[in-house]
């Protein structure tokens, strides 16, 4: 799975790098160490939802996102909240700017799609999840298909709705039992659904299902286990 951590490190973690666990500033207050991430933390990842390879570039480096399953999505990398992160998303020779400032504890997925003319388009999907649970699986649906106005994730025979009401450019998430079940993304009552397979979900893990239509045609869905890069101050 592609990692963006070193790229982000150059542009977003600079403030953290100068602060150790037992910094002298804290010691002056009579404390041995801070509790929690010293400057707060937020998480950022990139996803390629186009038909072609995507390159994300910042002043600190570059990240290539392919078109095969897990190659499409990077890790959630810890970044400093309140710091503007900038870069570009490129498909072929065409680029679109990336500019995002995260709030503390926010998780942002920078989704790169391609318009009908093939030019990259950037959508920020923001969430502040609270559903962390080591005995359940956290399952999310990300809707990056503009034609899918009311996305829902169904399980089994398609009649069991797991997540519903997800608008384009948004996400929905819920805790489920860790099971192995067939999933599909449907966009209205007449939609038989686009199938996807996560395999056996594990307790404590987090999963994302993306629905998208490269170039506005040919709806696709795929899912993967979320990865979080280690936080190292």
């Amino acid at each position: 799975m592609p990692s963006f951590r070193y790229l982000i490190a150059a542009i977003g973690m600079a403030a953290l790098l100068g602060i150790g666990l037992a910094g002298s500033v804290q010691a002056a207050e009579g404390r041995l160490y801070p509790s929690g991430p010293p400057n707060g933390v937020a998480y950022l990842r990139f996803a390629n939802l186009s038909a072609a390879a995507v390159k994300i570039t910042s002043a600190g480096g570059a990240l290539d996102l392919g078109t095969g399953g897990a190659q499409r999505v990077g890790e959630f990398d810890p970044v400093t909240p309140g710091t503007e992160l900038t870069g570009t998303a490129a498909i072929g020779g065409r680029t679109a700017p990336v500019k995002v400032t995260l709030k503390a504890n926010e998780f942002v997925t920078v989704a790169v799609t391609a318009g009908a003319d093939g030019a990259p388009e950037v959508t920020l999907v923001r969430e502040e999840p609270t559903d962390f649970n080591a005995q359940k699986s956290a399952l999310a649906l990300y809707n990056l298909d503009r034609q899918c106005t009311d996305a829902r994730l169904t399980a089994g025979d398609g009649r069991t709705v797991v997540i519903s009401g997800v608008k384009p450019g948004a996400t929905g998430r819920r805790l489920v039992n860790p099971v192995n079940v067939a999933l599909a993304v449907a966009c209205d009552d007449k939609d038989a659904g686009t199938k996807t397979d996560l395999g056996a979900m594990a307790a404590g893990e987090r999963y994302s299902v993306f629905v998208f239509a490269p170039g506005g045609v040919g709806r696709q869905a795929f899912g993967l286990a979320d990865k979080m890069a280690p936080f190292r101050p």
Binding site: Y33, S35, G40, P129, T130, F132, Q135, P230
Partner: protein
């Protein structure tokens, strides 16, 4: 010695509550030894759970203790630290006890850093699980409000409840059940007095007894 824990080789790791004589490295360690367990304890001050997986220097003290020997405490400014893999290989435990919570709860921060805490906790619990070892996670005690640590009873409760749902497959010991908020006096809002550490150590030991008696921990 009551022998309730005989047959257990327990590796105890923790934060600053384990790095000073008369803290848990004395009281909990003694309690477990007196119950027949073989015990090795390690503390790294100021560390988060992930620091026990990705080796880190420790800047405010570390300590280790084995069996009935006295604790060896290192107050070097940059002590070398240990990893859980290293300690499991060295000590061959059949039970790991993790005492950690105060360093990760975000005291003084407006927002509770759920995602970050979860990542820290999972990093350690999954590494322990990778060794096919059972583990028990001990959450933070109440402490006192109004100190430079900015510890509040509400945040301690939030942290303890969050750990309870985050530490599986480890079992959880809720230290807030051992006393009322503020009942155990502290020296700085966070670290207890000797009587508090005696009570906390006994509470943890008794909880482990109950888990063993209930068959939740196999010898």
């Amino acid at each position: 010695m009551n022998g309730l824990l005989a047959g257990l080789a327990i590796l105890v790791i923790g934060d600053s509550h384990m790095v000073t004589n008369d803290y848990l490295i004395t009281t909990l360690h003694n309690d477990l030894v007196e119950q027949g367990a073989t015990v090795s304890s390690y503390g790294m001050c100021g560390t988060n759970a992930g620091d026990w997986v990705y080796k880190t220097d420790v800047s405010c003290g570390e300590a280790e203790r084995h069996g009935t020997k006295p604790a060896v405490i290192n107050r070097q400014a940059r002590a070398p630290g240990w990893t859980i893999d290293q300690l499991i290989t060295q000590n061959h435990p059949n039970l790991v006890v993790v005492e950690m919570g105060d360093t990760m709860a975000g005291y003084g921060q407006q927002d509770f850093p759920r995602g970050w805490i979860y990542e820290q906790v999972r990093t350690l619990t999954q590494r322990i699980a990778g060794h096919n070892l059972p583990c028990v996670w001990v959450g933070p005690p109440w402490g006192n409000e109004g100190s430079s640590y900015h510890k509040t009873f509400a945040r301690v409760k939030e942290m303890s409840d969050f750990l309870a749902q985050s530490v599986a497959p480890c079992r959880y010991i809720d230290s807030t059940q051992f006393s009322k908020p503020g009942e155990w006096p502290t020296i700085d809002g966070q670290h207890l007095t000797a009587s508090g550490y005696r009570a906390w150590g006994k509470g943890i030991g008794d909880a482990l007894d109950r888990m063993v008696s209930a068959g939740e921990i196999k010898k």
